[in-house]
């Protein structure tokens, strides 16, 4: 069995297990932070973070559970932040929408749609100027591309050849609004191809396939310093914000095909096909689940920040 396959599965399972744990405890109302769940979309951050490894500087939207966990593996800090405790990387000041842990490669998150897209252009440009091997990558949705700053950023990045990785997680929805209600064009990647940007698209939910595409993107970046735009289709399992399904709200149908081709299922089958024992997989899963549950419990038990921390970090240093 390939270590890549296993690593990807670990990331996928970790994200899923962490969010299932949130679903289990959220009703207690101790995690007072609005949850935008990654569930269903984990294969994209898992693949991206796996491929970028230590080179990745990750910038995300409010929908950042999976990117955070896949990049940092910091389940303990993650739950610390969900509970607003001092064990969170931001000591509770950020919560679910603002995960930031630059030391571990998850730079920051923004709850203003599309606002980190230009930031990553600048971050990538600095990497180019400073000749680092870092790759700045930003996750955003199909709603973010409606905003002018997405287009400005495509132009700037193409013009300046800033080696940024733009990852559009296209789940077809902005909150409850479909692309059809928001977009006056048919095919976004076809438009972006007119910019001096390398474009990669996929409809696959196979993390390993996406991983290969990210490796292609990294190759382009390393060889040409060209920005890369990845348009990746996916499906949001739950409501926009919150831990429940909301198919009864009527704004969309539940599409079973996305569950049938779910990345966890695909990747687990791959491990089996590669000869891994079912019981080893189960054991691995249990270990992860235990780790997640322990991290959540530890966060519950942690301290809140002192009131005088309010003023810490307003100015740097």
């Amino acid at each position: 069995m390939s270590s890549l396959s296993l690593d990807l599965y670990k990331k996928l399972f970790l994200s899923r297990a962490a969010e299932e744990c949130i679903m289990k405890y959220y009703h207690e109302d101790d995690m007072k932070t609005p949850m935008h769940m990654s569930m269903g979309q984990e294969f994209i951050p898992a693949a991206v973070c796996q491929a970028l490894g230590e080179r990745g500087q990750i910038f995300t939207s409010y929908r950042s559970h999976a990117p955070y966990l896949c990049r940092t593996d910091d389940v303990e800090g993650f739950f610390g932040e969900m509970y607003g405790k001092i064990s969170g990387p931001m000591r509770g000041k950020g919560g679910s929408m603002h995960l930031s842990n630059p030391d571990l490669g998850h730079m920051c998150a923004s709850a203003i749609v599309s606002s980190l897209i230009p930031v990553v252009v600048g971050a990538a440009w600095a990497n180019k100027m400073k000749n680092t091997d870092k790759i700045a990558a930003v996750f955003f949705g199909d709603g973010a591309v409606d905003e002018g700053c997405f287009w400005e950023s495509m132009n700037i990045s193409a013009l300046m050849q800033t080696p940024a990785l733009f990852i559009c997680e296209d789940n077809g929805l902005a909150v409850h609004t479909s692309k059809r209600q928001r977009q006056g064009y048919k095919n976004l990647p076809d438009i972006i191809r007119h910019f001096d940007v390398h474009v990669i698209t996929s409809k696959s939910t196979d993390a390993e396939e996406i991983h290969g595409l990210v490796k292609e993107a990294m190759d382009v970046i390393d060889k040409t310093q060209k920005p890369v735009f990845m348009h990746l289709e996916c499906y949001r399992y739950l409501e926009h914000v919150g831990v429940y399904e909301d198919f009864d709200a009527g704004y969309r149908e539940k599409e079973e095909s996305w569950y049938d081709s779910g990345a966890l299922r695909v990747q687990r089958q791959r491990l089996l096909d590669q000869g891994m024992d079912e019981k080893d997989i189960v054991q691995l899963e249990q270990e992860i689940e235990t780790r997640v549950e322990n991290a959540l419990m530890a966060a519950k038990a942690e301290k809140f920040p002192e009131d005088d921390e309010l003023y810490e970090g307003v100015f740097y240093g």
Binding site: K32, K93, H176, G250
Partner: protein
């Protein structure tokens, strides 16, 4: 009169105006979806059709310009933003374009546009979902700015805002949405630019905006209970144009003034209120004006720090006690407002 919540009152005003004038339309991200902007746009699509309650792409800047263009050509757009923070994307259109559309045509064009922006707090909003920023708009000539506190005011002022031939920024605190009171039925408007005495008293004037009026009302109860002090509470409601007279005559009567603005204090609208009172009621003031506002930091997410960030009724009580030289009352038994217990009244 009929009992209505604040959000019902907003919906009522909108529905009545849309029925009265078919140039009125509502648009914004999420306006026609099933959550209906906290229920303030419910039924509009069904009653008036898809062309009068519009979903939009995520493009706050251009959709503001869109409203301006529609207004120039005779429509009366109401642009809704579920968070004030998103209005920052539209500052160019609001400040450079909308505010001076009339001036920039020597008074020939008009821009009757309402921008509804929701402010508020709680439950992990954090520093990107908690801004108020009314001072930004009140600073600009050509814009009117309204912050209603009660359901009746919400209805009456929104009606006037929609009928006004100028751009109006209409700012709603989401915790107020659950307030309930008797609201006049049918056609009902309150002129823009008139403040309101929310509570009468002779000992001290509190000038408060938006949600801070609720905290002030709570504080007033405690102050009466513990000290027999009667504070007067003034809600300007419209901050541009500002009803200076209602503020100044209260301060001239009481000789004491506390400004409780629902925002950061420094360089904010609270500064305007404090400056106004000290400049124009100077001789009546027995003590300097006290300003109360948010702590001067970005808003943290965790509830504990959020509670430290926002001033509340206790903050006001303490400020009054200090100003009047009263001993500190024991407030430990006083429960502060928490939005988990939805808010009913006092209005």
């Amino acid at each position: 009169m009929v009992k209505m919540t604040f959000q019902d009152a907003l919906l009522d005003a909108t529905t009545l105006e849309m029925a009265r004038d078919d140039s009125v339309f509502v648009y914004g991200i999420g306006a026609p979806d099933h959550k209906n902007i906290f229920g303030t746009t419910t039924g509009l699509v069904e009653k008036f059709g898809e062309n009068r309650c519009l979903e939009t792409p995520l493009a706050e800047d251009s959709m503001t310009g869109f409203g301006l263009g529609a207004a120039m050509n005779g429509m009366r757009p109401i642009h809704v933003h579920i968070r004030m923070d998103f209005v920052l994307l539209a500052m160019n259109q609001i400040v450079n374009m909308l505010s001076c559309a009339s001036y920039g045509s020597c008074g020939k064009l008009k821009a009757p546009m309402v921008i509804r922006a929701i402010i508020g707090r709680g439950w992990g909003q954090g520093y990107q979902h908690s801004k108020t920023l009314h001072s930004y708009f009140s600073h600009i000539p050509g814009l009117k700015v309204v912050l209603p506190t009660t359901p009746s005011d919400a209805k009456g002022l929104l009606t006037s805002a929609i009928r006004d031939d100028n751009p109006v920024i209409f700012i709603e605190h989401r915790w107020l949405y659950f307030a309930e009171e008797d609201v006049p039925e049918g056609d009902f408007s309150i002129p823009l630019g008139k403040g309101k005495v929310l509570r009468e008293g002779n000992d001290l004037s509190i000038i408060a905006t938006s949600w801070m009026n609720i905290e002030a009302m709570e504080a007033a109860k405690m102050l009466k209970e513990y000290h027999g002090v009667e504070v007067e509470i003034i809600d300007p409601r419209t901050i541009a144009p500002l009803d200076e007279e209602i503020i100044l005559s209260s301060v001239r009567k009481t000789g004491h003034c506390i400004v409780a603005d629902n925002d950061w204090s420094f360089s904010g609208f609270g500064a305007e209120l404090s400056a106004l009172v000290a400049e124009k009621a100077f001789d009546s003031l027995k003590k300097p004006v006290t300003r109360i506002g948010f702590e001067h930091t970005p808003c943290p997410t965790v509830r504990k720090l959020e509670n430290a960030f926002y001033p509340n009724a206790k903050t006001i009580v303490r400020a009054v006690e200090e100003k009047l030289g009263l001993p500190k009352s024991d407030l430990s038994s006083q429960d502060l407002f928490s939005h988990e217990r939805k808010f009913k009244g006092p209005f």
